[in-house]
Symmetry: C2
Subunit: 206 residues, 2 copies
């Protein structure tokens, strides 16, 4: 009945909260969702496919795309760029598919700036105690490094204000079912669909 | 973890769209939801209980409450008042229960004015053709009356703009499951819960 564009959903949250696990479980269930394919300048590895695992670009191409604001977010790790290409996201949305992006808080803030119409979901730790234990328990780092990580996590949680929804990751299945509700109900928002309904009203002689 | 107030959900839509059926099915499943108890000046019938079926008031008491803006909406049918008491709704929300109100479009617009923080759900007919047939098929009314009803339905649909969500009543179970998603995801909205999360952050020495 309704010819609707897809929605970009962004799942983010502090390191250690379990974003990857939640995203994987969600994709086992939500088969219509498209995963956002990243762009990178790192070498293609055997078995990887361009446009499936990553979009592979040269450093020069990538920097050109940065300049043209063709990346919703990007970062540099170990001398290689990684980012989210705007074009792939927009083309997928235009086909009517939702796109799902799981990303660190810093990247999510870049996406927010470049694509504010996205739906931003913040994954919250079951308790701060548990997040603290995870950060402390990671290894045998120096006290300074641990303190830095704790401060970082605190800052990341304070960025919650930029998000539309907050989901507690107390149990993966609960978190996934809440995200599914968000995906469904976002498609029911009047502001997204009223135009199409109005068109039906115009076309029809009620 | 989170000590949260309930949310007022308002289900409305044009006459003949099937609001009552959807509401009944929802209440068979959603046991935590509280139905909004109406207030009336009509006589209590045998077997009815004050504060369960209705809140029973005299005409004078009801008019006093109208003046004090203690009704979220009200209307007069066959010389009796019917309305939604603000106090019952607010007390139930304060206890942490969601309140669900199924109501005609005119009443929903009154609630919107008196309680804008409610979540307004518009039930849309599966097709305008079907709504038309239902209105036409009701009986042997005069052409003028039928034309009036069609105009009324059209106006009611145009009021969709005041709502937060639009749900198509193509199948009762689909509509109910969509409304359940809306109820769940509204509780996940950052603006509703960020304050409590922030408090956790302050209380805790992360």
């Amino acid at each position: 009945m309704i010819d609707e564009k897809g929605i970009l959903f962004i799942l983010s949250g502090p390191s250690g909260v379990g974003k990857g696990t939640v995203r994987k479980r969600l994709f086992e269930k939500a088969t219509d969702l498209q995963y956002s394919i990243s762009m990178t300048t790192r070498d293609r590895r055997p078995g990887e496919e361009d446009g499936v695992d990553y979009f592979y670009k040269s450093k020069e191409e990538f920097e050109q795309l940065i300049e043209e604001n063709e990346l919703l977010e990007y970062a540099k790790y170990v001398n290689n760029y990684y980012g989210t290409p705007r074009k792939y996201v927009e083309e997928t949305l235009a086909k009517g598919y939702d796109v799902f992006l799981e990303i660190e808080v810093q990247g999510a803030m870049q996406v927010k700036k470049n694509f504010p119409e996205g739906v931003f979901i913040f994954l919250f730790p079951p308790s701060l105690e548990e997040l603290k234990n995870r950060i402390l328990g990671r290894g045998t780092e120096s006290n300074d490094l641990v303190l830095n990580r704790l401060k970082e996590a605190r800052k990341e949680i304070e960025m919650m204000d930029a998000y539309d929804y907050v989901v507690v990751n107390d149990q993966v299945d609960h978190a996934v079912s809440k995200i599914e509700s968000i995906i469904q109900s976002e498609h029911l928002k009047r502001e997204r669909i009223a135009k199409q309904y109005k068109k039906i009203l115009e076309d029809d002689q009620l």
